[in-house]
């Protein structure tokens, strides 16, 4: 292995083993060196029947609602969305328009983040762009939370309709996203853009500090709480501490290149080979 940038400690590995045993996860999952996404899905399958007895939030295991193998990933019941809250605070946004699909199950966490940051929330069906535009025009909405496809569609719609883009866009990418470049409307405008990569909807694994946000490129830091290793273009994640089902040397199913150390002190990863 080359380029292990953050040591993966034996103690955290043991702690993860303990958590896995409480889920009744078969020992076979614990002995592999690394866990590709396909193996993690098998692990997830093994615990589905136990989820209802745990104090967890059931979130979809896929960004595709029509995925016939859709399962639930047990996410922490603790409310909040730290990266989102930080971005809202930093941009001093007053109102947040949520345009992510409701089936992502992010509403309670987004609401909690907005409460902490002092912003109100409005849920907007992605099919109803006129309503979203009216909210920006008339209802103090100045931040938009959406995914990479909708960022293009909705920002173009706003630009065409002569509606301001607001102060902040929080754009969620999935690992299998095909759109990584920011839409020109957002790139060429002074609006702040905070991009994140979610492993599952609402599970932030990579995010941007304000330095990276300003650059408006597909460059990210690993989110707090994860231990990361890097092997070629494979980013391997373990953790996070308060997760009901922490990752164990999980291979992120998308190529990530290590770039440099950011002025904020964290390692920068870029999307792609």
């Amino acid at each position: 292995m080359s380029g292990a940038h953050i040591a993966h400690t034996e103690s955290s590995r043991q702690r993860i083993f303990e958590v896995y045993r409480t889920w009744g996860i078969p020992e076979t999952f614990l002995h592999g060196n690394r866990m590709p996404s396909s193996e993690f899905m098998l692990l997830l399958m093994a615990i589905q029947e136990r989820i209802s007895g745990m104090n967890v939030r059931a979130i979809p295991s896929s960004f595709n609602p029509d995925d016939p193998t859709l399962m639930a990933f047990p996410h922490t019941a603790k409310l909040g969305w730290n990266s989102c809250e930080r971005a809202i605070r930093k941009s001093v946004s007053h109102g947040v328009l949520s345009r992510v699909p409701l089936f992502w199950q992010t509403e309670p966490n987004l609401f909690a983040a907005c409460q902490k940051a002092g912003a109100l929330v409005l849920i907007n069906d992605i099919g109803n762009m006129p309503l979203g535009a009216a909210a920006i025009r008339d209802a103090e909405i100045d931040a938009i939370v959406t995914d990479s496809n909708d960022a293009l569609t909705f920002s173009s719609y706003l630009a065409k309709s002569g509606v301001p883009l607001g102060r902040l866009w929080i754009i969620v990418h999935s690992p299998d996203s095909t759109v990584w470049e920011l839409p020109g409307t957002l790139r060429d405008n002074p609006v702040k853009v905070a991009q994140e990569i979610h492993l599952f909807p609402g599970v932030t694994v990579l995010e941007q500090c304000s330095v990276l946000q300003n650059k408006k490129e597909s460059h990210f830091h690993v989110s707090d709480g994860y231990e990361s290793e890097h092997d070629g273009d494979v980013l391997i994640l373990s953790g996070c501490e308060d997760a009901p089902l922490p990752l164990l040397r999980y291979e992120l199913p998308m190529p990530m290149q290590i770039r440099k150390v950011c002025t904020c002190g964290k390692t920068v990863f870029s999307v792609g080979q």
């Binding site: 059931a58 699909p101 199950q105 509403e107 929330v121 762009m129």
Partner: protein
Amino acid sequence: MSFNQIKELVALTTGKEGGQFYRRLYGLRPDAPSIKINSLGDWESLPLLTKDDLLAVPLKDRSFLPISKIDHLRPSSGTSGKGALFSPRTYLREMDYRLAYHDFKRPIVSYTVPMMPHWHEQFQQAHGIAGCSISFDPKNPAACARLARIAGADALSFFAFHVPLIAPHLVREGIAEHIRFIEIAGEACTRALFEFMRQTFPRALILPFYGSSEVEDSPIGMPCRPITGDMPLALYHGKPSHYHEIIDPDTLEVVEPTQDAEGELVITAYPGEPASFPLIRFRTGDTVRVVENECAEHGTWSFTVLGRTQMDFIKIQGGVLRADEIARVLQTMQSDVTDRYELHCTDEPGHHGPLFTPLLRVETKRPVDVAKIAADIAASLRVSPTMTYADGVAEGRYARLICEEFHPAPGAKSKRIVRQ
């Protein structure tokens, strides 16, 4: 609310300090003192508040709280070509009545209406239960039903028209029989929908929720009882933080709320502080009928909701059927029809539950093929920015539009949309 409480509310909301909405609405001069109500006559002389009054004032000038203290906004569809109204909300109070019907120990599947998913979790936590909800996404009911099954949900809370949308998926996931509580909001529950729910969810208690986007202190009426099949299906009584009046929608005179009296419900609602918008004499646009002078269990008069007073829109799965949109489409077919019509809406049993079934009675100018007219109208009639009525039919959401010729008497006033 007692008379003293409404008196205090008027004084509070018309003071020189704080929100200026009512001072402007009542035409108070900048140096004028707050309004003092001394009699019921004084009260009834206060102008009624309408949705148009709310729409005319931007949110930041309308809200009684700074924007940072508002929790969330609730949009309501623009009517008659007007824009959407964004109503500020803090949090709902006096909701413990729900505990008489369900324990809320398991996750609840909830849309953003009548309450947001986060609200359900706060409600659970306030009663010592680990908060857990499954957000219902009408665009992705299968995924939500799957998550509901895995999470062990046993309760549903959403619009009445969402029930047929998720029911087949809950059946497929094998959890329909585990559902013990269904809270439904929106258009009145029809007999067809009730029968469908009873058959599909045999163990569920069905509780109606009568709310309105503009009313922060929702619900407007507390359910007197669950829906059991007894008529009227949904029965409500007032909330302690509300003052209800019934008016004649034509004369705007107050109608005495005695048994069988009918009229438009006017609501005054103030949940206490913090309140982002205390409502004073707001016209709900809903026609109600008084059922009992004194509800045996709750003391105050009880009522049932008959429908919209001057119905200019009807919410349907995935959108809204608007009166002005129907008129627009008819105006594009001027050689065949006028823009006078009546739309009669019912729910009819469909393959997957009750199906929205409209009959459009149109005034024709000459002999026409009504089937073709119906197909042409459906293809042009928008129910959302991205969907026509015909699209909804193709997706199995609605029954095919049927047209029938109609010849109203000259000058006759007709209800344009009628819910049956």
